[in-house]
């Protein structure tokens, strides 16, 4: 293992543990440590990262179907990366939404007494089906290489994974390819409609929230999912190779860049019309005012800086005006920036919408919690307040604990990813 790679792993371990302290605080003090408890907003950072990860997962999976569903050879090298990213992102989904539940320990009720008229319950089950498909697919596409590694005596883990199979025949390959193809094709509706469209539906069916409500929401979710998933796969493929000192395949990079640019423009196209139509109306509709907040209100920087500048302008500039295959690290940076931009989009889906209360004329007094002393030790509350002390009324800004916990999830996922790419044969193993 390269030193570079070891250093990377070490840094991730440190960061994960350091930020992981927030989980302890979360368990001890429940949602009190969030800025939600101090504003009239009920969903916040963790929910936006929940849908962010759902999007990444679905997007990454759909990229993988280019290979396994439609057999596009240009993308063959990133196929397994895409699947692994889809799996880990789904783990991120779980990790992000779990602390957001006021009763974490009761999440099991989603499976023991689900209500299938609720899209959250539907989703909870969809994720299970989806992850089974993902794992099966990843296993099957790398089975040949696992057996090879097992035979080579590379480690007990591979013998275990090979399930006692010693040889991998042409016939096996053909059968696996067929199963994978079927799984990939089944996976498309599961991911696009069930997983991500469904997550969009969680929002889209809420008639009480005008900006969320509507058929467009799930579609928009899927589009941005594709975009973010592709960008992340691109970035992680390059970075992994760079860290491992491997060779970065220029064809793959160029093909991925093409896809990413295309998706970015489709995304922009949708965003443009969403903004323009809503801003053009003279009626003070909820949509217009929420866009107003998003564009020019307290959250302006999320849209202009995170979404537009970091998420589109800078990375598109990089991808379009440099030669990605020659300067792959720049392309990776562009990919990461796009992913961050999509995180901004997710934030803006959840939060500005909640600025509008069900009854707008509820006086602001109702939102000011008479926060008494509490069992929260000073440093916990203080740290939370320090960054979120404007969270008042409808305005929500996450506390340091929310940020830390979210960061810990990202670090953990990166760590797992870095370990898995070491363990799982990500590319065809040479004989």
């Amino acid at each position: 293992m390269s030193r570079r790679y070891l250093a990377w792993i070490a840094i991730l371990v440190v960061l994960t543990v350091a930020t992981g302290y927030s989980w302890y605080v979360r368990v001890l003090y429940n949602l009190k440590i969030t800025a939600l408890s101090q504003s009239s907003t009920a969903w916040g950072l963790w929910v936006s990262f929940y849908i962010f990860f759902v999007g990444l997962s679905a997007g990454a999976f759909l990229i993988s179907t280019l290979v396994y569903g439609f057999g596009l050879k240009n993308f063959e090298r990133i196929g397994r990366y895409a699947l692994l990213i889809a799996i880990l992102s789904l783990f991120g989904v779980f990790l992000s939404i779990l602390p957001d539940l006021g009763r974490m320990e009761r999440f099991i009720y989603l499976y023991t007494s689900p209500n299938f008229s609720s899209w959250i319950a539907i989703e909870a089950w969809m994720y299970v089906i989806y992850i089974v498909i993902l794992i099966a697919e990843l296993y099957l596409v790398s089975r040949a290489d696992i057996i090879k590694l097992a035979n080579r005596g590379a480690g007990g883990i591979y013998r275990l994974l090979a399930l006692g199979k010693k040889s991998y025949t042409e016939g096996d390959a053909k059968r696996d390819a067929t199963i994978v193809r079927i799984l990939a094709l089944i996976g498309i509706p599961v991911a696009a409609i069930g997983v991500h469209g469904g997550t969009g539906a969680i929002f889209g069916v809420i008639g009480a929230r005008p900006v969320w409500f509507g058929a467009y929401t799930p579609i928009y979710f899927v589009l941005s999912a594709l975009f973010s998933g592709a960008a992340l796969v691109l970035a992680l493929y390059i970075l992994t190779k760079w860290l491992q000192g491997g060779e970065i395949d220029p064809v793959t990079v160029d093909s991925m860049v093409g896809v990413v640019i295309l998706l970015a423009f489709v995304e922009l196209f949708f965003m443009f019309w969403e903004v323009v139509t809503n801003m053009w109306t003279t009626a003070p509709t909820a949509e217009r005012e929420i866009l107003n907040i998003m564009l020019f209100g307290s959250y302006w920087w999320v849209f202009w800086v995170v979404e537009l500048l970091l998420g589109f302008i800078v990375p598109l500039g990089i991808l379009m005006f440099t030669k990605p295959s020659r300067r792959p690290l720049l392309a990776a940076l562009a990919g990461i920036l796009m992913v961050i931009g999509v995180a901004g989009i997710r934030f803006n889906i959840v939060l500005p919408t909640l600025a509008e209360k069900p009854f707008p004329w509820m006086p602001p007094e109702w939102d000011i919690k008479m926060l008494p002393w509490d069992r929260i030790p000073g440093y916990v509350a203080g740290a939370a307040q320090w960054i979120a002390n404007f969270s008042q009324g409808t305005y929500y800004f996450p506390t340091i604990w929310e940020w830390m916990l979210q960061a810990s999830i990202i670090f953990l996922l990166l760590l797992l990813y870095s370990i898995f790419v070491k363990v799982i044969p990500m590319e065809v193993v040479e004989e």
């Binding site: 007094e365 000011i368 919690k369 008479m370 008494p372 002393w373 000073g378």
Partner: protein
């Protein structure tokens, strides 16, 4: 300073202060039991709170309306408060008095937001439960806890009590025994009761005399009493404050009892102690910072101090500077009737108020008037009514009872009585030689001749001419009505309107509407118009509107209220006639510190000074704001010991900065003791703070707002075990409280009327229940024989015991309670007492409210349209004679009656009260605070634009007498200077040029600041101190310097006149 305290420290504090800890440790256990019980009952859905065994009825006091409440108690914990359905204040009509307890248990009646929150005041974590003694300079908020007995010993005996406080090492603090001169006399064989009575009668002779005669009587008095006292080895100066002015009274008067909120029950209890046992005449409550001029105006006109519209049957009401939904005398009792009458009964109402109150928001018409000009508005209306002959002439012409009876009028006025222009006195028939001294003169309506009239004559109807201006026997006379006419005509309608800052149309429309409903219209007022230096006249003018249509006593008119059964036994003279059950009662005498109810001319001080140093107030009483400044000036005498009970002069009084300065000065007030449930804003300046029992833990018999037309006697009784520590007095264990302190002092000094034979032979007065239960028995017995309540049956007795089984012996001891209600003749009133206690009082049934077109309990008889008492009084201090009819006087005047010009301060500051807060008792009610965490400075949009202010700007309010806008709290470790600063709220709901700040925010005491007890810092809670209190910037009187502006007649303190400026802070 505020070091973080470890849990260990807290436990220590708990051990020191938390005497109630043991009681409360049982709570969780109680709840477990409760949960099990509920679980068992769950199948049937039975709610234990709906059972009478969980209920004790009592009376609220979060505001002075004192609504009957129903307390729901579980295992000794008060869990819910709601309205008492037996009470006419909480619902209309209330349920019949005989309704079974289990039926009533399921009916919760209305109760306002403050009443609901009482639980939070009761279980306030900042409750004081041990005796605290100052451990630093006054206001340092450093305390130490001391045993109750030691505290009593120290305040009784005095001495170098604060030798550990820097600067006070050698200060000799006077004790109660030093000034209880009757103890000296008694100890040397004298009989205080007879001597004091004797002295008192001699003094009254002196007061009645004038000129040289007065001086002679003084000398005579001194000669007589120096001789008498010599028998006991005493000199005049041992007994009297100033032997040259014996009318100032004995040294006992240097003990001052100053109550903020005290109500019937405790009022009588404490008066027995202060006046009848200790012999000090200085017993006060807070009325002048409340609405005293309103009471005085009503009192001067009718003799009753308070009247209210019969809301349900009214067709038109004008609320002057008050509402029914937020403050006044009761949102709970008035709001539901008002809204009901509007929706179902066709009532219309108008609100005349600079601010759009919630009442105004629902009004047919809101008239945003300039503060303090209500009298001008009313005079404008009077002018219109007179000009358009819309007054009830038939009613006003009636000059005696017989004439009124003939017209079916419950009342009549002295509108036609002739007034001597020269001295403002009513012309007596004897002066014309046509009748007696007690007869007045009218110009007979038929003959046009002067005719004698006896107001009470029920036989010979007399009717007079209304407008009279003539000379009889060389005496220039005018009728009262004529004087009113002249006053109303002194300005044109446009001029009246311009004074008020309203349109002429406003006056005309209201006047026309007011006179379009016969007797079913009422002009109602409370605090707004009267808390001004011109308050009395404003009040009188508004009440006069009612006289013009003669609505008093009519259904739908003005009601004196249903009244109450007399808890002191005064009417029935039994079964417990409390004032005569006082062996050895002392007759307190002398001029009160505030010179109230006294005329300067009667006092011996008039022999030595031409113009008094400070004003005298012959017409009013309870001059709260004047107590400390008078003591500071030593006029008419200095005081030694001040007991502040449930009051906060240093916070609630206008120009509170001046009051605080006096409180801080140990020279001016050598010893301050306080009884409070929390360390309040003023209490923190006291030397000793005694814990008091809270409303829900104690007794009382408050009276009812007159908007209730049926008779009601409310009984407050302990619902839960007091949190405070107990003490031992007369061998009895009892919670530390105002009552316990009085009993303890009585025991220590041997005051008459206390102890094992306190009420008479074999009738002990050693516990508070001995007193209060006798009051309850009096209520149960009624005002006459045959007026008794039924006996409680066995089931009721069972419920009674069951509901009280959580109460400790120190509070509820059935055998002891039973004994207290066996009257001197041996009659047992116990079952009747239980019947009353089971219902939280005694309430007449709703169907007794009306008697045909009249109110059953109506005011009858003479009403003074012309108030002779006031109109004939010449104030030496001001150099003017007052007026007997309402006149317009500008509101912003000094104590000499001269207008104050604060031209640099262009805005008028007013205060008001949201329904969310009591005066200063609700800062710990977090439930309410969540509705309105802080108050704002309300300002009209236009004014704000002129000043460049917008919503949320922080500004400081400054005035001419407090140009820095500061609360001078000092620079202690815990209590520091503050500024009168708050956030601006721009609204269309206030008159331009006026800024309004609601009361009951901006606390610096009451748990809002840190304090130190026994060296441990107890952190304050910031939530309790949010917002601002503007009292410190309210205008000091430029002449007197240390007191706010005051109404010379009614005594009301000015709350709504100060000219201020807003200085932007951020």
């Amino acid at each position: 300073m505020s070091r973080r305290i470890s849990r260990r420290d807290f436990v220590k504090v708990g051990a020191l202060l938390g005497g109630a800890t043991a009681v409360m440790l049982s709570v969780p256990e109680a709840f477990r039991k409760y949960a099990e019980a509920v679980r068992a009952a769950a199948q049937g859905g039975e709610n234990p709170l709906a059972k009478p065994e969980s209920i004790i009825y009592s009376v609220c006091l979060q505001c002075h309306t004192a609504c009957p409440i129903k307390g729901k108690i579980l295992d000794g914990v008060l869990v819910k408060l709601t309205g008492n359905p037996y009470s006419p204040q909480n619902m209309t009509p209330h349920i019949p008095y005989k309704t079974r307890l289990d039926v009533a248990a399921k009916i919760d009646a209305y109760l306002c937001v403050k009443g609901q929150s009482g639980i939070e005041s009761l279980y306030d974590p900042y409750r004081v439960i041990k005796v605290l003694k100052r451990a630093g300079p006054r206001g340092s908020n450093k305390w130490k806890t001391i045993p109750f007995d030691q505290a009593i010993k120290e305040i009784v005996e005095g001495g170098r009590l604060f030798s550990d406080v820097p600067g006070e090492e050698d200060r000799q603090v006077p004790g109660l025994k030093d000034i209880w001169v009757w103890g000296l006399i008694r100890d040397r064989g004298g009989d205080p009761a007879s001597i004091s009575a004797d002295m008192k009668s001699d003094i009254s002779k002196i007061m009645a005399a004038s000129g040289d005669e007065k001086a002679r009587l003084v000398e005579e008095f001194k000669a007589k009493w120096s001789g008498e006292l010599a028998k006991y080895g005493l000199k005049l100066e041992d007994v009297f404050i100033d032997p040259d002015h014996p009318d100032l009274g004995t040294k006992a008067n240097q003990f001052v009892f100053m109550a903020g909120r005290i109500e019937h029950g405790r009022k009588e209890f404490s008066k027995r102690f202060v006046i009848d046992a200790f012999g000090s005449i200085n017993w006060y409550e807070h009325t002048t910072i409340c609405e005293q001029s309103h009471h005085i105006a009503y009192g001067m006109i009718s003799g009753k101090h308070h009247m209210k519209p019969d809301i349900l049957n009214c067709e038109f009401i004008i609320f002057f500077g008050t509402g029914a939904f937020e403050a006044n005398f009761g949102p709970t009792n008035m709001a539901h009737k008002l809204t009901k009458a509007v929706v179902e009964g066709g009532l219309k109402f108008a609100v005349v108020d600079p601010r759009l109150s919630k009442t105004a928001a629902k009004a047919w018409r809101w008239v945003p008037i300039k503060p303090g000009t209500d009298g001008a508005f009313a005079l404008g209306m009077i002018r219109w009514i007179l000009e358009n002959k819309r007054y009830d002439a038939r009613y006003l012409e009636n000059a005696n009872k017989a004439a009124a009876d003939l017209d079916g009028e419950p009342t009549f006025t002295n509108a036609t009585y002739l007034v001597k222009v020269e001295d403002g006195k009513l012309l007596r028939a004897s002066e014309l030689g046509i009748g007696s001294d007690s007869e007045y003169v009218i110009m007979d309506k038929e003959t046009g001749e002067p005719t004698p009239v006896d107001p009470n004559d029920a036989e010979n109807p007399k009717e007079g001419i209304l407008l009279v201006d003539t000379t009889l026997n060389g005496i220039r006379v005018k009728s009262g009505f004529q004087l009113l006419y002249e006053s109303a005509m002194s300005r044109s309608l446009d001029e009246w309107a311009s004074i008020c800052g309203v349109s002429r149309e406003d006056i005309e429309v209201l006047a026309a509407e007011f006179t379009s409903h016969g007797k079913r219209a009422v002009a109602e007022l409370y605090r707004g118009p009267v808390q001004h230096p011109n308050g009395y006249y404003n009040g009188q003018a508004i009440i006069t509107l009612n006289l013009l249509i003669g609505n008093i006593g009519w259904k739908g008119g003005l009601s004196k209220g249903g009244g109450h059964w007399h808890e002191t036994g005064s009417k029935r003279k039994g079964p417990f006639h409390l004032s005569s059950l006082h062996p050895g009662k002392i007759s307190g005498f002398g001029v009160k510190l505030t010179r109230e109810k006294s005329k300067f001319e009667s006092s011996t001080l008039s022999l030595v000074e031409d113009v008094p140093k400070r004003p005298w107030y012959p017409f009013t009483s309870n001059l709260y704001q004047e107590i400390l400044p008078s003591a500071a000036d030593g006029y008419p005498y200095r005081i030694k010991i001040l007991w502040i009970h449930k009051g906060t002069p240093g916070f609630a009084t206008p120009a509170a900065d001046a009051q605080l300065e006096i409180l801080k000065d140990v020279e001016k007030v050598p010893l301050i003791i306080a009884t409070d449930i929390v360390l309040g804003e003023t209490t923190i300046y006291a030397d000793y703070v005694f814990p008091d029992i809270a409303i829900w833990e104690r007794w009382g018999t408050p009276h009812t707002s007159p908007d209730v037309n049926t008779k009601a006697s409310k009984v407050r009784q302990p619902m839960v075990a007091p949190l405070v520590d107990t003490c031992r007095v007369f061998g009895e264990e009892m919670p530390i409280s105002m009552e316990a302190i009085m009993l303890a002092i009585a025991e220590k000094l041997g005051l008459p009327g206390y102890g094992s034979d306190g009420f008479g032979p074999g009738m002990p007065f050693t516990r508070m229940e001995d007193y209060y239960l006798k009051m309850v028995a009096n209520i149960a017995a009624g005002d006459k024989v045959g007026d008794e309540v039924p006996d409680a049956d066995d089931e009721e007795l069972r419920i009674f015991r069951e509901a009280r089984k959580h109460l400790p012996k120190t509070v509820f001891d059935e055998e002891r309670w039973h004994r207290a209600v066996i009257d001197p003749e041996g009659n047992d009133w116990w079952r009747k007492v239980v019947y009353v206690l089971n219902r939280g009082g005694r309430f007449e049934d709703a169907d007794k409210a009306y008697d045909g077109e009249y109110l059953t309990h109506r005011f009858t008889g003479l009403l003074n349209l012309y108030v002779e008492k006031v109109g004939s009084y010449y104030s030496k201090y001001m150099g003017v004679r007052f007026s007997g009819v309402p006149v317009y006087v500008p509101p912003y005047i000094d104590s000499k009656g001269r207008p104050i010009r604060d031209d640099e301060y262009p805005l008028i500051l007013i205060t008001y009260k949201e329904i969310y807060g009591g005066q200063s008792r609700t800062p710990g009610n977090y439930w309410i605070l969540s509705v309105m965490p802080e108050n704002h400075i309300l300002i009209n949009k236009k004014t704000a634009e002129e000043l460049g202010l917008k919503d949320g700007d922080v500004v400081r309010i400054v005035s001419a007498s407090n140009p820095d806008g500061v609360w001078p709290l000092g620079d202690g470790p815990y209590i520091k200077n503050r500024y009168v600063e708050g956030k601006v709220k721009v609204t269309g709901g206030i008159a331009p040029g006026v800024v309004a700040v609601s009361w009951h925010y901006g606390h610096f005491g009451y748990g809002a600041s840190d304090c130190e007890i026994d060296g441990v810092v107890i952190k304050g809670d910031y939530r309790r101190g949010l917002g601002l209190c503007p009292n410190a910037v309210m205008r000091r009187d430029p002449v007197l310097g240390n007191v706010c502006l005051t109404d010379p007649i009614g005594g009301s303190a000015s709350f709504f006149d100060t000219r201020v400026k807003l200085v932007k802070v951020s």
